[in-house]
């Protein structure tokens, strides 16, 4: 289903802008409440202010981009993607390098943009615990997550490699900033896997979706789980005895990319610069509990301290976290995934 939403700007503005008819862009995102939030906070106001005519579409992910690029029929100018998928798409040569002379990322939280993809919103892979089992003061670190003496109970862990190795190394005593160095060898990956093997008898579920780990925590099926902060917020709002911490969490983000051979490449850069500005990004938490990528968005006053406390990218929370290293994922993910699978099937 393709939803084309034409955003025509005020007629008066059109008249004064000579190039109005040429200044149009097509953006593809994932639809649903997520795209609605983006549309209201970022796309519509930015379109109005720049006079760019923005057409929105929903799409199925990088596979669609691959199809367009390979057939030479590129119609999309900007696409929304997960950071990992974007990194792989970039490695495949499906994306244009972004022009950071145009896009101003000087105030961005470090690590939330790459050569081919600029961050749009932030989420975290955190550990959560059942407050009925451990109270408000639950585990304080990944080491605590691993400590089944101090925190006896069942665990749930991710069934895929993404975001699964870093916590294990931190629990094994590797300082946050050295995690990806250690992981950049098969021995390092094996070290992380051994740490997971250690916890394995207590892991009763390897989760495969956000909905699943939220349900596991809400129903008290497990006492602790890794997972995405927004999902645990929902579980808590839903009446679940669930708390999570941003300490040592993995900071990850969704980003905007430009497909190779996009028809309005230059205009796309301009628009990306516009929506990266704090005055748009600070509106995003009104519609969805994802954090902005531009640190200045926390200083406009729109985001209250209470809201900031639950956003992964607020300065206090961001400082506690390890940003996902996309270069590492680009280079090692398939190998690590195979090794992870070996571990899972043992």
């Amino acid at each position: 289903m393709k939803k084309t939403l034409s955003l025509t700007v005020a007629a008066g503005l059109m008249a004064t802008t000579a190039l109005a008819e040429d200044r149009s862009l097509t953006i593809a995102s994932w639809g649903g409440s997520y795209q609605e939030a983006q549309s209201k906070a970022l796309f519509e106001p930015a379109a109005a202010n720049t006079g760019i005519n923005v057409m929105q579409e929903t799409y199925g992910g990088i596979a669609d981009v691959r199809l367009q690029v390979n057939t030479g029929q590129v119609t999309l100018d900007i696409v929304v993607s997960g950071s990992g998928s974007a990194a792989r798409a970039a490695a495949e040569g499906l994306l244009e390098p972004l022009d950071y002379d145009v896009i101003d990322v000087s105030d961005f939280i470090p690590g939330l943009y790459t050569e081919h993809c600029v961050g749009g919103d932030v989420f975290s892979t955190v550990y959560a615990w059942n407050t009925d089992t451990y109270g408000e003061d639950g585990p304080q670190s990944w080491a605590d997550f691993w400590d089944v003496e101090k925190f006896p109970g069942t665990r749930s862990y991710r069934g895929a490699v993404a975001g699964a190795l870093e916590p294990a190394l931190m629990a094994d005593g590797v300082p946050m900033e050295e995690v990806y160095d250690v992981l950049s060898s098969e021995e390092g990956i094996e070290r992380a896997l051994d740490k997971i093997r250690e916890l394995r008898p207590h892991i009763s579920v390897f989760w495969s979706s956000g909905a699943q780990h939220a349900q596991l925590m809400r129903d008290g099926e497990v006492d602790m789980s890794t997972g995405w902060n927004g999902r645990f917020d929902n579980a808590r709002a839903d009446g679940g005895a669930v708390m999570h911490s941003f300490n040592q969490a993995l900071l990850d983000y969704d980003c905007f990319a430009v497909p190779k051979g996009a028809p309005n490449k230059e205009l796309a850069m301009e628009f990306l610069n516009e929506i990266s500005k704090p005055e748009y990004q600070d509106d995003l938490p009104k519609y969805i509990t994802y954090g902005p990528t531009n640190a200045l968005a926390y200083e406009t006053g729109t985001i209250t301290p209470e809201v900031a406390a639950i956003l992964p990218s607020s300065p206090e929370n961001a400082a506690l976290q390890l940003p996902i290293d996309l270069d590492w994922y680009g280079e090692w993910e398939t190998i690590a995934a195979e090794m992870y699978q070996d571990m899972l099937t043992e």
């Binding site: 596979a63 009763s204 579920v205 495969s208 129903d219 195979e338 070996d342 099937t345």
Partner: protein, 303 residues
């Protein structure tokens, strides 16, 4: 007189030719009637399978390569996943036989009206979605689910039993889904067994148990085999139930196919898994065909 008889002879010969060609024509017409079906088989079965084989030999860089198969040999996880798949399929089939056979036997002994009622109950689960039924098991079996709650309230066990997110849960869910596929052919086969066989056995001196094992059971095996094979093969490619109830700890081939598509972003890796599963399934069928005539499976009854 002579002239007429020659004429008749010629007429007979030309008639024979005509009749032969009518026969041929008729056969072609019959074949023509089935051509839409053949076309559909070609389009929805042969072409995609052929494509699956082709794609499985395409590597990540888009050229011909055996890497998708090599990976399966070098990585230990694949052998284990196939092993788990066959293990789960065998166990599910075994449990289905243990539960389904007596149930089918019970139904086959009921008067037709009651048996039909039972049959509807057996088929009832087909009316609800697979996903709903699977999630229902999750709700029932989890740590704070109904089964554990009741069991502990009644004092049957103290600690919550691990009924789900493991092999137990997977098997419970799969057996529940697969049971009708076993019961239907077994029941059909049993209904077709003439009651007089059992009377004859009793008359000749067989106790009820002896008559069952020497006469009824052997006659019900074609149906049993049909059902078991159907369940086994369905299990080999099953996805939803093990994915939800296995807790990520019971990994089957179908689940690996999905994660390979997500991970390698090309179809080759997943296709190769599909090919291997297809080949293994064909081998199972081939081995099965050596023990039992497969055409009996579709007939069901023992005569």
């Amino acid at each position: 007189m002579a002239v007429t008889s020659i004429d008749t002879g010629m007429a007979e010969r030309s008639n024979a030719r005509g009749l032969r060609s009518d026969e041929r024509l008729e056969r072609w017409r019959l074949f023509g009637l089935s051509s839409p079906a053949l076309l559909i088989v070609l389009v929805i079965l042969l072409i995609p399978t052929g494509w699956l084989f082709f794609v499985s030999f395409i590597g990540a860089d888009g050229s011909y390569s055996l890497e998708n198969y090599e990976r399966m040999i070098t990585r230990r996880s694949y052998a284990r996943i196939f092993q788990t798949t066959f293990q789960v399929s065998l166990l599910t089939t075994g449990l289905c036989i243990l539960i389904g056979y007596p149930l089918a036997y019970f139904m086959s002994q009921l008067p037709t009206r009651w048996a039909n009622l039972c049959l509807i109950t057996v088929l009832l689960p087909f009316w609800t979605s697979l996903l709903v039924r699977t999630y229902a098991w999750l709700v029932l079996l989890q740590r704070q689910g109904l089964v554990n709650e009741w069991g502990m309230t009644l004092g049957l066990w103290q600690e919550p039993l691990r009924l789900v997110h493991n092999m137990n849960g997977t098997l419970i869910g799969m057996v529940h889904i697969m049971l009708p596929f076993l019961i239907l052919p077994v029941y059909g086969g049993m209904r077709a067994i003439d009651r007089d066989y059992l009377k004859a056995a009793a008359n000749l001196g067989a106790s009820p148990a002896r008559a069952f094992w020497t006469v009824f059971f052997p006659l019900s095996t074609p149906g049993l085999f049909a059902g078991a094979l159907m369940v086994f093969i369905l299990c080999l490619g099953f996805f939803v139930t093990p994915a939800i109830l296995g807790g990520g700890r019971v990994i089957l081939v179908s689940m690996q196919i999905v994660s390979n598509i997500e991970l390698f972003v090309n179809w080759g890796a997943a296709s190769a898994l599909g090919v291997v599963l297809l080949v293994l399934t064909m081998m199972v069928l081939w081995i099965a065909s050596r023990f039992v005539r497969l055409e009996q499976m579709t007939g069901g009854g023992a005569r």
